[in-house]
Every structure is written in C-alpha cells, then in structure tokens.
C-alpha cells in the first residue's frame, strides 16, 4: 500500500490554483479590479441613504469592495500576480546571494563566514519590518532602484538572505565531508568545478525545498509590512488628487489601513487579503515539505537528467551528431522533435482579425486636422464649424447614419471670447517698469475692452473685514486695480473671495495671483473660461512667479490695454453618427465611441496644435468608416460621437446627454473615450477602467473583450487613472465609461512638441486594431 504524500498533493493543488490566477485572473472573476464603486444617495424604503465605499459583501459584490470602491474579489485574483511574483523574486534573490556565499564559507573563507554570521545577528536583532520601513523612505534607495516594486523586493532580499546562507553552508559542509569528494579532488578538479558539478547537484533537492519555503516566508513578510503601509505600488497623486502613475494591484496594499478597518467593524476588508496570504503561505509551505519528503526517498534520475540538459541543447553537438547520423539516430530524432515543438509553440500562427485597421487613413485624418487652416479655431469661433463639417462629411461617406437626423449637433456656449490684443505694464517709483507677457505671465479671464492707467493696490483676505460686507467699506478701492494672492486658498474659499471682490468691493479690476507656471498652464485649458462670479469685472490671472515679483513692489501703477472680441452666439458643434442595432434583444444596448477635437488646431500660435489629441477622432473616424463600409448590421447599437467645447464649461457631451439620454432609464450604455494616440515617445497605452462599476456585469464583459484583443494584438496595456472633462457628464448620468489614452505623454502633450512631427503612423496600428477588433466582437460577436 503506497503511502501518499499528502502535503505534496495539497501543496501542488494550491500552487496550481495560484498559478492559474496569476496567468489568467479573468477566468476567476467577472469584474475589472480598477473599476470603482461611487458614492451616491439611494432611496431605500422612502428614506435617503448615503451609499459609499467600502461596500460590505452583498449579492453584487460577493466579497465586498475596498475603500476606493474596487471589487474585493477581483482585487484578490488580479493581485495574485504581483504579490506572488514579488515573493518569488525575493526567494530567488536570496538564493542567488546565499548560494555562492554558502559555498565560499563552507570552503573555509573567513570573510564569507563572518559576513553570514554578522548579517544574521544584525537582521535577527532588528525586526525586518522596521528596517524596510526606514530604508524605503531614504531617497538613496528610490534613486537607485527607480521602481517601487524593486525597492521592496531588493530590501527584503538584502535583509533576509542570511538564514538561507547558514542552512546551505551546513549542507555544503556535510557534502564536502563525504568521501567521494576526495575522489573528485584526486582526478584533478579544482574547487570551482567541484562546487558546480558535485556540490550543486547534491544541493538541488535542498535548494528546491528551501525555495518554496522561502517564498512562503517572503509572503509572510510582505503581508506584515503591508500592514505598516510599505507597499509596492507607489502611485503618486498629483495636485488634483488623481493618480499620475499607473498602479498595479497587490494584496499587501489592501492591508494598509487594516487597523482602522477592523476598529470600524469593516472586517471583510482585512479578511480577504489576509486569507489570500494565509492560503498561499500554507500552499507553498506544504509544497516545500512535500518535496522534501519526496526527495528523501527517491532515486535522483532527475539530477542526472538535469546534467544532460546542456549537452542536449548544444547546437554544435547536434551538428556533430547529424554528421555521424548513423550512430546517433535516436538522439537526433529526439532533439529535432523537441525543437519542432518549441518553434510551434512560440510562433503559433494567430487567426487574423476580421477587419483591418488602416493606419494610413487615420494618419491622414490627423494630418488634416493639424493643418494650419484649422488654426485659430476655438470652441465658439466660426472656424470650429470647419472641422465638424469635415468630420460629418467623412461619416456620411462611410455609411454611418446621422444621429437623430443630423450629424452636426449645435449647442450654445455661454460665453466665448478671444483676446486679440493685450499689453500690461506695472511700474513703481522704486522698481521701475515691469512688463508682463500675455499668456506667459498672465491670462485675461473676462472679455473686456479696456485701456488706461490705474493705481494697483494690494488686497488680502484680512482687508475684506468681517461679515456682513458693506459696499461702502471699500470706497478706497473704487477705480483702482487690486492685486490679490489666492494661492493656498482652497477652492470654495477662493471662489467666494473672488466673488465677493467682484460683487461687493467692485474695484476697476482684479489681478489675482494663482498657482500656475506658464508652461504647465498651457495644458490646463480652463483659465480662459470666465467664472460666473467674475462676469462683471476685469479679471486677470497672474502667474506665480510674476506674482511674487509684483508682491515685492510697492506703490504700483498699472497700465494696460486689452482688446477682446466675443463671438456672437457662440456654439459648440458636436458630430454624432450611429449604426442602429439589428438584434431585437440587444439593440437597446448602446456603445458610444467618443473623442474630442476642440483642442486640435486651437487658437493662434500660442496655443499648440495638439496633434496627439487628433488621434482620438482619427481613430474613431477610421473605425466608424470600416464598420460603416462593411455594410453588416451590428447586433448592438453603436454611436460615434465627436465632442466639441469640452474645454469650456458648456461641454458638448453634457448638452448631448441631457438632450437624449436624460436619466438614462434603460441604463445600458457603455462609453469608450479615445484620447491621444500616435506619439513617438511612448508605446504603452493606458486603459482607465476606474469609472466602470465593478457590479456592472455587461460593462465588465466589454472590458474583458478589450483586454483580450489587446493581448491578441500585442498591445501593451497599463492601468491607471486619466482625467477627462467628458467623464463628469458620464458620471452624472451613471454611464459606465473607460478611457483609452497614451501613457507617459505628460511632457509633450499640448506643448510645442505636440505636432505632426511627433506622430508616427505605425504607432496607430496596435491600438486602432485593438479597438476595432473589440468593437467587432462586441457588436457582431453576439452574446458576450
């Protein structure tokens, strides 16, 4: 009766499941782990309830959500990969460090022995958690390693190798004491050869066992330091509170606020990651123990087989054997078979996509949109119509149907103006004249026509006095310009303050110093849109640097000339086309492919062409074209929307949704936004899925289709959060949305470099083909 090796069986089972979760987490869970549940008010039995993450386990979220609203089950399964890989990396790292040292030490090197001993004492005395915590914060480590993942991994390797080294050293000493070593010396081997050829093979069982046990130990440490907040996915937040870097998911980061969660009774937030750790640790430990038992009894044909690998793979040897084919027939056959299977697996031909995405067309569109003719058109200017007409024409030509009767949908813009001329000089007796440059040192935020010289007075929050604010308190400000520093004030206070100045203090005009640098401002499109509260007065936003300069001056005079033109009845022109769904049950499920074009070719030479942003519309256009021309009716409805005015307060998307999808009763809309593409500098595409609710099953399926097709087209995806003004509107209507953008273009977007010279046509192929394939699958593929 053979005694079964239960530990091994159980251990292998667990490790296999974990491996499956690492390779294909999608199979285990429906939702994308980045999708976030949003806070909202719900009516339950007639009463308003505030429903915010973290959500406790319920039918929609079987394991609940984390504090950001991400589905816990998905987090666990997707997080498996990074967590396990890090643990394995640590185990391998420790092994690579310990093994040579152990061999040196066993051979008698005093230095190695001392090193092992001292390190062991040192790291045994300090808790590894504290050591890691200290070192992670040091600037040196982040300079050296760059990636947060490798920092923690490297630190844990550095602080944990000594135990393994000690164990290995004893084993090596044991082997060196065996009689056959003398025989190996006698035939003339030097120490290195004996180490590699005789000692290491004997160590392999121990090494394999130790490896698995070490992975378990590494997982344990990772879970512990996670509780202390030392985690690997070091995403950074920017000033808007949004993640700048893409972030990856792992289990330890889920444990970061665990004390707080337990204290507030949200046990599931800690339970699932802890359980995941526990099961993995048990699995690896069992496997290690099971293998140890196995190795102790078995004959090591394995080792002899391993020895044979180098000569098996040697191509020179193969050539020799081919020459002497008659003697080595069986060996040659085996090798050729092996190589054949290998080649087959590596270069397995993929099925081609049904439709081909033509990058030439998309590139042409981008070129067209970046042409100088389109320069100077802004939302609300008449030149805006040119692009929208162009797009409408293209849509019509490709068989896309106009939405609700027409391609172009016009919506009113509240206020659109353009500053044609601006001169501003501030002078004082002591400092002389300081000339400010328009759009570099200041922006005009209200449409005015003014010319004159005024006194410039500094004004602070204290000067405002106390509530209630009477107009007559500020008589000495009338007719003057006020210099106000609003940096550091939070949004509400600031807008109140400026509002009060405009409405109550009523000076001639306001120069307010805001925290922007001239270059960065170019990316933010918002300065030019006047706040409602600033409607009456002249409001000028001054850059931070210039503001500091001005604050140092006293007794200032300001001389300015501003000419602006407002557009009559400004409108934004959105272009929307669609293909209606043909399947009775599915036609109410709508996919909207959206892109914005109102930055493209914007303004005069000071505002940059934003060619990358033209990529979005270009890609959408090409996709629409292919689907339209194919003549095949999609099962689901697809809408292609090209938004205008998204850089203003009156976004085209907002108006459109209000008009056609108010309250979104059927709630079956999925929105895909295409933003920037084609940049030479970056080849990674970022997929932001945070705005799709994890419990929206249909939407999650679509996301899986996108990911699958990305893999198929060898498109490298990263995950993160991207900001887009259209998202406000989507969230307002509770529409699940994803954004597809190019990663790491912060340095070039909306700067002088963002022109056609920076666009590479080839780069359009993979994302374009991915979106096309995904769409085809969703629209035509039937039940998803």
């Amino acid at each position: 009766m053979r005694k079964l090796n239960y530990p091994l069986i159980l251990g292998v089972l667990i490790v296999l499941i974990l491996t499956a979760a690492c390779i294909n987490p999608e199979a285990f869970t429906t939702a994308d782990p980045y999708g976030e549940e949003r806070a909202k008010f719900v009516f339950i039995e007639g009463k308003i309830n505030y429903f915010a993450p973290p959500v406790n386990p319920c039918p929609e979220y079987p394991w609940g959500t984390d504090q950001y609203g991400r589905d816990m089950k998905s987090l666990i399964f997707y997080g498996c990969r990074l967590t396990l890989f890090t643990a394995i990396f640590i185990a391998i790292g420790r092994l690579l460090v310990s093994l040579p040292l152990a061999i040196y030490a066993a051979y008698g090197s005093k230095a190695a022995n001392r090193l092992i001993r001292q390190f062991g004492v040192f790291t045994g005395a300090f808790p590894i958690v504290i050591l890691t915590m200290l070192f992670v914060k040091i600037q040196l480590t982040s300079d050296f390693f760059k990636e947060p993942n490798t920092i923690i991994g490297a630190l844990l390797v550095l602080f944990g190798w000594s135990k393994m080294a000690g164990l290995l050293k004893e084993k090596v000493e044991g082997i060196l004491n065996e009689d056959f070593i003398e025989g190996e010396i006698a035939i003339g081997k030097n120490r290195l050869e004996i180490a590699l050829q005789n000692i290491v093979p004997h160590l392999i069982p121990s090494i394999v066992v130790m490896f698995f046990l070490e992975v378990a130990a590494a997982l344990l440490v990772l879970s512990q330091i996670g509780v202390f907040g030392i985690v690997m996915n070091g995403g950074l937040m920017n000033a808007d509170g949004e993640y700048q870097l893409p972030y990856e998911i792992d289990w330890a980061s889920l444990l970061v606020a665990s004390q707080w969660f337990v204290a507030t009774g949200r046990l599931w937030l800690v339970l699932y990651p802890a359980a995941a750790f526990a099961i993995s640790i048990i699995g690896f430990n069992l496997m290690g123990e099971g293998l140890r038992m196995e190795f102790e009894k078995r004959n090591s044909r394995v080792i002899s087989w391993i020895r044979g690998i180098p000569s098996f793979l040697s191509l020179l040897r193969l050539a020799y054997e081919l020459k002497h084919m008659s003697e080595y027939r069986s060996s040659v056959t085996k090798k050729l078979l092996f190589y054949g299977i290998l080649l087959l697996l590596l270069f397995f031909p993929q099925l081609p996509s049904a439709y081909r995405f033509e990058t030439t067309n998309a590139f042409k569109t981008m070129e067209e949109l970046s042409k100088p003719e389109y320069r100077g058109r802004r939302a609300g200017s008449s030149q805006n119509e040119i692009i929208s007409d162009y797009l409408a024409e293209k849509l019509a030509a490709s068989g896309i149907q106009p939405f609700e009767g027409s391609f172009v949908h016009n919506y009113p813009l509240e206020n659109a103006f353009n500053v044609k001329e601006a001169q501003l000089t501030v002078s004082s007796i002591i400092s002389g004249q300081t000339r400010l440059e328009h759009r570099k040192d200041y922006y005009v935020t209200t449409p005015v026509n003014i010319s004159g010289k005024y006194k410039l007075k500094k004004f602070t929050l204290e000067d405002l006095g106390e509530f209630p604010f009477q107009e007559n308190e500020f008589d000495d400000c009338r007719g003057k310009f006020l210099l106000v520093d609003v940096r550091g004030l939070n949004g509400i206070v600031r807008s109140r303050f400026l509002g009060l100045i405009n409405s109550t203090v009523k000076p001639a005009g306001v120069l307010y110093i805001d925290a922007w640098e001239s270059q960065k401002l170019a990316k933010k499109g918002n300065i030019d849109s006047p706040a409602k509260s600033q409607a009456a007065l002249i409001n000028i936003a001054v850059s931070s640097n210039m503001g500091d300069t001005l604050l140092r001056m006293n007794d200032m005079d300001i001389e300015l000339t501003i000419m602006s033109e407002t557009y009559p009845e400004p409108e934004n022109h959105c272009v929307v086309g669609y293909l209606p769904g043909s399947d009775e049950t599915l036609k109410d499920e709508i996919i909207i492919i959206g892109s914005t074009f109102d930055c493209v070719g914007d303004d005069r030479t000071e505002r940059f062409p934003a060619s990358m942003e033209a990529g979005g519309p270009a890609m959408a256009l090409e996709t629409a074209g292919i689907l339209g021309r194919s003549g095949v009716k999609p099962k689901r409805t697809v809408i292609f929307a090209f938004w205008d005015g998204t850089n203003t307060r009156d976004r085209g998307s907002k108006a459109f949704l209000e008009q056609y999808f108010k309250d979104n009763e059927n709630k079956n809309i999925f929105y895909i936004e295409l933003k920037n593409f084609g940049s030479k500098d970056s080849s990674k595409i970022i997929l932001d899925t945070t705005r799709t609710l994890p419990k929206a099953l249909k939407a999650q399926e679509y996301i899986k289709v996108l990911k699958k097709n990305a893999r198929r087209n060898e498109l490298e995806l990263v995950y993160g959060k991207v900001s887009s003004p259209v998202m406000h509107d989507m969230l307002e209507e509770d529409i699940n949305a994803v954004i597809i953008d190019t990663y790491d273009i912060d340095e070039t977007i909306k700067t002088p470099k963002d022109n056609m010279g920076n666009i590479e046509q080839k780069k359009l192929k993979k994302p374009g083909q991915t979106v096309l394939d995904a769409l085809v699958e969703i629209l035509y593929g039937g039940a998803v």
């Binding site: 056959f180 006698a186 003339g188 081997k189 005789n198 093979p201 004997h202 004959n299």
Partner: protein
C-alpha cells in the same frame, strides 16, 4: 634511473589545536619516509593503523600538503609546484580508494563519473566520451549498459571496478591503491587483485599498494616497506622480507597473521603493550617499548634505514650491530 616516483624524507606533521593559538601537540603522521618506484613496479606499504601508510599515499597525490620532503615524478619535483599545476600531476598520478561505497558520487551515473576525468584532462574529444567510457568499462569487466546505472545499484566488487576504471581513465603512470580490497568479500578480492595485475601488465603502470593484509601484500608487491608510527622500519624485495624478516616488528607482524592451515604449528611472537599514539611517540626508536631485544641506545637514538643486503634495508640498532661487518659493500 627510470624511477616513476621517488620520495625523499617526506614528512607530515599535523598540528593539534591548541589553546590560544599555541600548538600544543603535533601528530607526526609521516616522519621521514623515502622510497622509489620504478616503471611497472609495485611497492607495497604495510603496517597497522596509525602507521602513516594511507597518509603517505595521499601526500604523493598532494591531497594533503607535505610538511617537508621531496617528491619526484619522473625526475620532476612536484612538491613545490603551485596549486594550479596540481591538475597536471593528477593526470599522471591516480588513486583507488578503500571504500567502494563512498568513493563515488552517489548522484552521478557511472558514465558521468567516468566522463569527468576525461573532460578535465582532455583525454579524448568531447564527442568521443561515450566511446571511451565504453572502452573503460570493458577494461574492468563491466558492460555498456552499466554506464546508465548509479553506484548504489552495484555490489561492492563492481563498485571497486568502477573506481579502478576511473583511475585508469587518465592513463596514469602511477596509481596509489589505498587498501582497495580490504572492504571486499574474499571471493571478490581475488578478482580485483587479478584485475589490477592485468591492468598493470597492459598499461605498464606502477602501483603503490597500501594494505594491512600481509598475504595480499605478498601477492601483489615487488618491493615492500613495513611502516611503524610514520617511519619505514624495513624495506626490500618482498620475497626476502617475508622469508627473512629482520626487524622485530616485521617478525611479530608476520607471525601474528592468521594462516589458513590448521596443520601449521603456531609460533606467535606476541608483542607487549599497545600501539602507541602518534601524538606522543616514544623517544629514540619508536618501537622500543614493545621490543624484546631493546638496547639502551634504542631509547635515545632513532635508527635509520641501513642496507643489510642489496635489496634489503632495516632501521634497527640491533641489526646495525649484527650486520655491521658486511655492510660496507652496499652503502
């Protein structure tokens, strides 16, 4: 003189540690041993435990570093060579170990074990290893299929054959046989001894044959050296030493070996006392505490090997006196 190996005044002292870094004791494992072995000749070294015969063998192969003395391989001084050059002498000098059960790496197949020396010393081209291993196996009476097996799948005698094959792989000139048959069954011993003899004739290799079984030594050796406490006390052509032993120790040794002949009358020259420990050897002649014929000089002065006939040397004061007369002609 075409001596393959010549050893002069070889010494090996082990330091026993020692309080506070100062050496307290020394084990004089080998204390001034000299001999030479000609081509195709077998020198037997016999003695009891602690006499230093195994250590001597390992010193020649430089498995242990000598404290002093000279070793010549074909006239070349190999004692002072650097460690890097050791590899080349390990091609010409090989060793067969006593314990067949632990001399071979248990995790290597026989083919791997035999291929190693071929690869280290580049005896044949890499792709010819298979053929050469087959030849070596045949040389020692094993088959090609045995190459795929592991050492533990063989009996003791077969394992010793593998060990011999490994030693022969480098086509050495000199092989140190360190008690190669002591751990084997009687019926297998003779097979191995025959094999060693055949190989010697075929490959013209010289042996240093270390053993404690006197009958085995008698059979294999041309010359024999009797060792006691690190020194050679008697040396000569084997027939002469065995039939006309001079040193009291040799005599005692020969008489105490059990003879499988119940008809022979036993004449046991029993020695007094125990074999002393090599840490604290007696002064003068190391054998004097156990010698019946001890003289006063034996306590003080150490005797050196002196010829008593052309092919027979003894280190004994008594012998010196007895044979003084006839010595001059052989000095």
């Amino acid at each position: 003189m075409n001596h393959i190996i010549e050893v002069r005044n070889l010494k090996k002292y082990f330091d026993i540690n020692s309080r506070m870094g100062m050496v307290q004791h020394q084990v004089k494992a080998v204390d001034g041993v000299s001999f030479s072995v000609a081509e195709g000749e077998t020198l037997g070294l016999v003695g009891e435990s602690g006499c230093g015969k195994s250590t001597t063998g390992r010193l020649i192969l430089r498995l242990i570093k000598p404290t002093s003395g000279e070793i010549f391989l074909e006239g070349r001084d190999i004692n002072s060579i650097k460690d890097k050059e050791l590899r080349s002498i390990r091609k010409d000098i090989q060793i067969v170990f006593q314990n067949p059960y632990s001399a071979l790496d248990p995790r290597m197949t026989v083919t791997d074990i035999l291929s190693e020396p071929l690869s280290i010393h580049k005896i044949v081209h890499k792709y010819e290893y298979g053929k050469e291993v087959k030849r070596l196996l045949g040389l020692v009476g094993l088959s090609e299929q045995d190459g795929k097996k592991f050492p533990h799948e063989f009996s003791g005698g077969q394992r010793q054959r593998i060990g011999i094959a490994r030693a022969m792989a480098t086509r050495p000139k000199f092989i140190i046989c360190d008690e190669p048959v002591s751990a084997l069954d009687v019926s297998v011993q003779s097979q191995i001894l025959n094999l060693l003899g055949d190989l010697q004739k075929e490959m013209k290799v010289s042996y240093l044959f270390i053993a404690h079984g006197l009958n085995v030594i008698r059979h294999v050796s041309d010359k024999v050296g009797v060792m006691y406490l690190g020194k050679i006390v008697e040396m000569g052509i084997v027939d002469e030493v065995f039939e006309k032993p001079i040193h009291p120790y040799t005599k005692a040794l020969l008489s105490s070996a059990p003879v499988p002949d119940p008809f022979r009358s036993m004449h046991l020259e029993v020695l007094e006392g125990e074999i002393p420990s090599p840490v604290n050897p007696p002064s003068g002649c190391a054998f004097h505490p156990r010698c019946r014929h001890m003289l006063a000089i034996c306590k003080e002065k150490r005797p050196f090997l002196q010829h008593i006939s052309l092919n027979h040397k003894v280190a004994c004061h008594l012998a010196d006196i007895a044979f003084e007369g006839g010595r001059a002609s052989y000095a």
